[in-house]
Symmetry: C2
Subunit: 338 residues, 2 copies
């Protein structure tokens, strides 16, 4: 009987607060899944009925490339083209309109695709220096578009796999230059400013410092970047890639930093690929808006979200994501596969 | 040549602002899809290897029912049971904890399942009065839990279909009583308060008034409720069900209003079921927190999100959802199927 009294009730779940935004996530560990149970190979794509449009972009009636990188032999290694089916287009001048109490504006902007040469080699399978070249293209296009009329935010992201919303299998990233500041980034900008007022410190620098010291969620580091699972992960195996020192503006990244970022992103993608056995995933850049204002307290970073769960009624309603593995346990699994 | 000059560049997309939160959505209409092109029958469930746990909840080792409604013949028509795999549990006392700069707390709370009798009849196929009975159970459990220690918000939601996160096919809703206020509702509470300060008016009442007058997104109305596609829909075929008059607190719903809400929810589910041919969907209640504060400017409502799209890198990063049909066009399609 004494034994029974000592049995503690098992831990079922905990709420963790996002240090930046104040939002919450639930880590539901009641079922105690191990990293291997999250393996979720992405769906196969249907066979192509025609040539891949990203292997031969010049044959698809696209507008001309806006950027091409070439190898020594003259063949291209990376190209950037306008999206044939844009969500934002410069052909629509920026106009606002009203309907009753409501407000809207035309989808004026730019929507581009950043394509790497090889149809079958995803980021996890590229050389780090090839990923640095992708970063180079991100920066080039960013600098080119950031001062265009009516561009206030530039969103750079990468969808991998059907379940993650990539309708074309050929590896590619996307860039959308849009007239409004992303609400997702605005929450972080506000949180970072509040934290700085209170603590005289950048909240992302505080996170970097803790994760580098504490190490239990740290996955990789080099001179300029750290790769880690965030404390309040929104999805199982979420990973952040962040500059170690305080950097508000992605577009100011140096050549040396690009090399290190290429390595950090490649390692992160490789750990995800090996641990979850080629899952679908998304990653995206969060950086300061280009709306003419200064954001000295912000700190740019990449967030990587493997497609490990379905966000259902609870998540859609509350904005509180439920994940079923502790980020520390996910990190242990990922580190084994570096 | 004169002809050519008159050709206006085709409209590709527009940004619409959420009147309540200030967030944005993109309506990308460049490809001009018609309502019929969104048909997305939900996936079939794998065959059950054993008895359905919700047809025979007493045989699954669940804790006892917390609520049972019975028919004239004594058989049950609806029952509420604690979730066997809870995300929040009262077995965990509310404790907060820290790790370095971070903050968290135990997942203390309640997690219940509201089950209707028939394994095969989803809400679209129930009689309106049977849906009113579900609403009755929502209210009953809400009133029972709202004053429990450490409960500050009660989330009620319904997942239908595998793609929408329902692991069990038998129709059921869920209730989670949680220690924090939902960030999703907090954005609306803040927006509603700001709007009221500026306009001396409830923002939801302003919306109801406009939609009832303008009618192009209106789907159905009875004495107490309106059913409509919101101006800034986050997903194709999103529907809201809202009281016509100003109501901050769901738990104060009257018997007469429950009858009308049952009818409104059933009609909404039926339109979705017929138009998209039995898609997966989620719906959920947004109501004032039960944290002891007053929320005179809030206005409760249900939001229904058919599973019509994948939220990919852009949506996950920015919080701006891209939908590919104008809510007015979706409404025309839905109204044909009432």
């Amino acid at each position: 009987m004494e034994e029974n009294k000592k049995v503690k009730s098992a831990k079922i779940s905990e709420l963790r607060q996002d240090l930046i935004t104040g939002d919450w996530v639930v880590i539901a560990i009641g079922r105690g899944k191990r990293p291997g149970e999250f393996v979720k190979k992405r769906e196969a794509y249907p066979a192509l009925s025609d040539k891949c449009p990203f292997c031969y972009p010049e044959e698809t009636g696209q507008e001309k490339d806006v950027l091409v990188f070439r190898r020594g032999d003259g063949d291209w290694s990376l190209r950037v083209i306008p999206n044939k089916y844009p969500a934002f287009s410069r052909s629509q001048p920026l106009k606002s309109f009203e309907e009753g109490p409501y407000f809207g504006m035309s989808g004026s902007g730019y929507h581009e695709i950043i394509i790497t040469r090889d149809h079958t080699r995803q980021i996890a399978n590229l050389d780090p220096i090839e990923v640095a070249e992708i970063v180079d293209a991100y920066q080039d296009r960013y600098l080119n578009l950031m001062n265009k009329r009516s561009v206030n935010y530039i969103e750079i992201f990468h969808n991998h796999g059907l379940e993650a919303g990539a309708s074309i299998e050929h590896p590619h990233s996307q860039l959308m230059a849009i007239p409004v500041v992303s609400p997702g980034v605005e929450l972080e900008l506000t949180g970072a400013e509040i934290y700085h007022k209170r603590s005289k410190k950048c909240v992302y620098c505080a996170i970097a410092e803790w994760e580098l010291r504490n190490k239990k969620r740290l996955l990789f580091e080099n001179d300029n970047f750290l790769v880690f699972c965030p404390y309040s992960a929104r999805a199982a195996f979420e990973i952040w890639v962040m500059p170690k020192s305080h950097k508000p503006y992605f577009e100011r990244i140096t050549n040396e930093e690009k090399i290190d970022l290429g390595e950090a992103l490649q390692k992160a993608a490789q750990m995800v690929w090996r641990t979850l056995e080629d899952p679908a995933y998304n990653f995206y850049l969060h950086t300061s808006p280009c709306d003419g204002k200064d954001y000295p307290h912000y700190h740019w970073h990449f967030e990587i979200l493997p497609h490990t769960a379905t966000w259902a009624g609870f998540e859609l309603s509350t904005g509180i994501e439920i994940s079923t593995i502790e980020p520390e346990v996910a990190a242990r699994g990922l580190r084994k596969n570096i």
